[in-house]
């Protein structure tokens, strides 16, 4: 079906999230939606899927104006949405998850007709190449497969228009390729797809047209074959962006982080980190590359005091820190940018200012022993907001209301607001727009040049290559290779990540 949004406007307190936005997509086409963090993409899609009502503007499907009062209306009109944060019940199996809310029923009592639900799920998954085991429990599935379940859920409801909000943010490169195959297949079958991403290569690869939003408005609509990454980046942020931040060669000094035969267990008691030896020097960035789930999370947690070390030794600046408390580690000058910002790094229902002091509230000037110093907190937080260009109506705004990029900036601003010796950053730019990535990369390089030792953990090859003075590749709990920045090419690192060496 042809979809058109006309002059959509949506105002939130203090932010005009959508300002007369018009977009359109033809039947069987893929519309790529780009835009910096907070540009209003999710808001626009939430309007399309009936979650929000627009202040003005209209939604046209096949030329007919429609109004949706709730998501059920939008689903009836054929709009399926895969949210950035999946909405699945962990203990349900695939069939139940897909059918939930639209269960086929049988008999006088109207009981759940499992068999026919299962049949449709299998049909749909073969038809569109969405490979899933219909009986598997959601919690046992990797993210990539969960996403397929979400897509199946939309297809099951006969969606003719499918919205995917940043589907690739959590996928491995291989899973992303598979997702693109699915998208192409859907489009060929007549589904209209709206695909949101921050990764320029991806839109160029999969979209038929690209609309770029900036600060709530349409900045331009372009065709992939007539544009370049640089032009897209410019449209997004309104200035030229350095897609790979330039940096001087590192001048490594003394060892700060020293890991010797480090072994760490995961939650189920298995060895996740199996004897790692790694040194990070002051003034250098070591980037740990690897596919998600090869022990990186446990490694970071061990270094920051959040997980017990099983054996081996771990020192920071010569001081033994294995099994020290997180507070002790942080007080030693270790900054930590956690992997999952909304779960580990921020408290959504608290203000920007409160989140800004989350790990230093007990120190001066924020605390005078018992009392919090509200004035100092507000002042310092405002300073951080200015310095890091965090887009928020005020420091008293709840952090959960900020866009993803701005949330991440709150964390980075907080961690860099105190003297640091070692920076441990996990997925520091996941889900961020090119402008914010450039910005955060600059700040990290600045910290390096100021003499901090930096350990970056990232599944994003581009990021690893852009930042690493040395690149360590992790596979199955071990470091399978350490490459200098000259040796580290996409191919070389990619091979090691796949366990080939």
């Amino acid at each position: 079906m042809r979809l058109e949004l006309r002059e959509i406007t949506k105002q939130f307190p203090g932010v005009l999230a959508n300002d007369r936005i018009s977009i359109s997509a033809d039947r069987g086409k893929v519309l790529g939606l780009l835009g910096e963090n907070g540009a209003g993409k999710t808001t626009l899609m939430n309007i399309l899927s009936g979650l929000y009502r627009p202040d003005s503007g209209e939604i046209l499907i096949d030329g007919q104006a429609r109004t949706f009062t709730d998501p059920a209306d939008a689903i009836k009109a054929g709009i399926g949405m895969v949210h950035q944060h999946f909405m699945l019940v962990p203990v349900f199996d695939v069939v139940a998850s897909v059918a939930l809310g639209a269960e086929p029923v049988k008999g006088f009592l109207g009981t759940f007709d499992r068999a026919s639900a299962r049949k449709r799920v299998v049909e749909l998954s073969t038809q569109y190449g969405l490979d899933v085991d219909p009986g598997a429990r959601i919690e046992d599935l990797p993210v990539g497969v969960r996403q397929r379940v979400e897509i199946l859920k939309a297809l099951y409801r006969k969606s003719d228009i499918l919205v995917l909000d940043e589907p690739s943010a959590v996928l491995t490169p291989g899973e992303t390729e598979e997702l693109f195959e699915i998208i192409r297949g859907l489009a060929a079958g007549g589904t209209t797809v709206i695909f949101i991403t921050h990764k320029l290569n991806e839109v160029l690869e999969v979209a038929d047209t690209i609309t770029v939003l900036r600060r709530g408005r349409v900045a331009g609509t372009v065709l992939p074959r007539e544009t370049t990454r640089a032009e897209l980046a410019n449209l997004m942020v309104g200035r030229d962006v350095e897609l790979t931040v330039s940096r001087a060669p590192a001048k490594p000094r003394e060892v700060v982080l020293d890991l010797v035969d480090l072994a760490v267990r995961d939650d189920r008691g298995g060895l996740a980190v199996r004897g790692i030896n790694l040194q990070v020097h002051a003034g250098e960035i070591v980037a740990v590359a690897g596919v998600q789930g090869n022990g990186q999370t446990e490694l970071v947690e061990a270094i920051t005091g959040l997980r017990r070390v099983d054996s081996g030794s771990l020192t920071v600046g010569g001081e033994v820190v294995q099994n020290a408390t997180p507070r002790h580690v942080s007080d030693m000058g270790v900054a930590h940018i956690p992997e999952d910002r909304s779960r580990d790094g921020l408290i959504a229902n608290m203000t920007v200012a409160e989140n800004y002091i989350l790990d230093s509230y007990h120190r001066s000037p924020y605390s005078s022993g018992v009392r919090l110093n509200r004035k100092a907190i507000a002042e310092e937080a405002s300073k951080g907001v200015r310095e890091f260009d965090i887009r928020t109506p005020s420091v008293e705004t709840h952090v959960g209301a900020l866009s993803g990029g701005n949330q991440q900036k709150v964390i980075v601003a907080r961690e860099f607001s105190r003297p640091v010796k070692l920076v441990v950053a996990a997925q520091p730019t996941r889900g961020l727009d090119v402008g914010s990535i450039e910005y955060i990369h600059r700040r990290i390089i600045e910290q390096r040049d100021a003499g901090a030792a930096i350990l970056i953990v990232s599944t994003e090859l581009d990021e690893v290559l852009a930042l690493g003075d040395r690149v360590a590749v992790m596979y199955a709990g071990q470091i399978v290779g350490v490459l200098s920045s000259e040796q580290a090419t996409k191919e070389a690192v990619g091979m090691l990540m796949g366990g080939v060496h």
Partner: protein, 399 residues
Amino acid sequence: MSGLRRRLRPLLVPVLAVLSAFVVGSLFLMLSDLKHLAMIPTDPIGALTGAMGDVINAYRALLLGAFGDPAKFALAFEQGTPKAWTTALRPISETLVAATPLMFTGLAIAVSFRTSVFNIGGDGQFVLGALGASIVALALRDLPAPITLVGALAGGVLFGALWGFVPGFLKARTGAHEVITTIMLNYVALQIVQLALRTDFLRQSTNSQPISKVLDFVRVPLLIPLPGLRLHWGFIAALVVAALISWFLFKTTKGFELRSAGQNLTAARYAGMSAGGSIILAMVVSGALAGLGGAFQVMGSVTQMSNDVNSGYGWTAIALALLGGTRPGGVVAAALLFGALNNGGHGMQVATSIPLDLLVFIQALVIMFVAAPDLVRKIYRLRPPKPEVAATATEGASA
């Protein structure tokens, strides 16, 4: 929005919820009004007006029972005798007496909820607080009264805090779920009270019931020096404690830790806060508040320790904490409302022979309507709150 309207806006839904509860309550009153129901076939209009008249009378009696009769106030002004004043002031005094223990337990539960710890043990902490106060009072009875009194209150705090510490510690150390442990400890507390009331030290030897000696040798001073008015300084203490709790939660580093842990335990842990420490602290503070409530109840309102000092205050507190949005100011308001309903209900029962159960029903309706703000908004066609505003309302920077 002007400053005042902005401040009043969060009150809109609760006020409308109370109103709705009374309207729905009146429908049930009419439906249970057999006399007028029987009249419908012969005289429908008369039945309706009669039933409505009865409802109005009932609610009038409720209001007078809760806040006092203007006519009696007028009389008191005219005559100026202590006796006239006592009659005029007694209803409101009794409402505040009824609200006082609820304020303490409501605050106790609110503190725990703020930290995402579900203290269901307010009852046990309350009775043990009362027991602690009685024991200390008897032990120190020969000392100067102020010392005895302060000691007794401290005893209540200590016993309550201990009864909060145990489940807090168990949760922090072993992960034992506090809902289960606190419920179990409620029963243990009751048994401890039974046991203690059998000892010669506590027991009133002239009474066959398990009830303590009369503790009127030292009493929380009365607020209004008229005979027959029980309102004591415990009420003022509850207000002060509410202000202190508000200060503690929103202005201190420990309060910040509790709120952080309550909102997102993982993020709090990542930020270097001790999750276990927050849980234990929240439970100790919570228990101490309930215990202090128990101490004031026995040293101020009832003057004799028995199982009857408590009437489900720890349970009602759960509803109050939710009604008040876990904000100290909100909890105080909710406790006052429930105090008024409980006390006014007695007045209504006497005046109209409508059973007290109806008040329990109306209380349940209030809770229901407050718990379903969307319903209230639908009924009154209010605009939904802007996301920002809604979030701030539940958080509440100060109360």
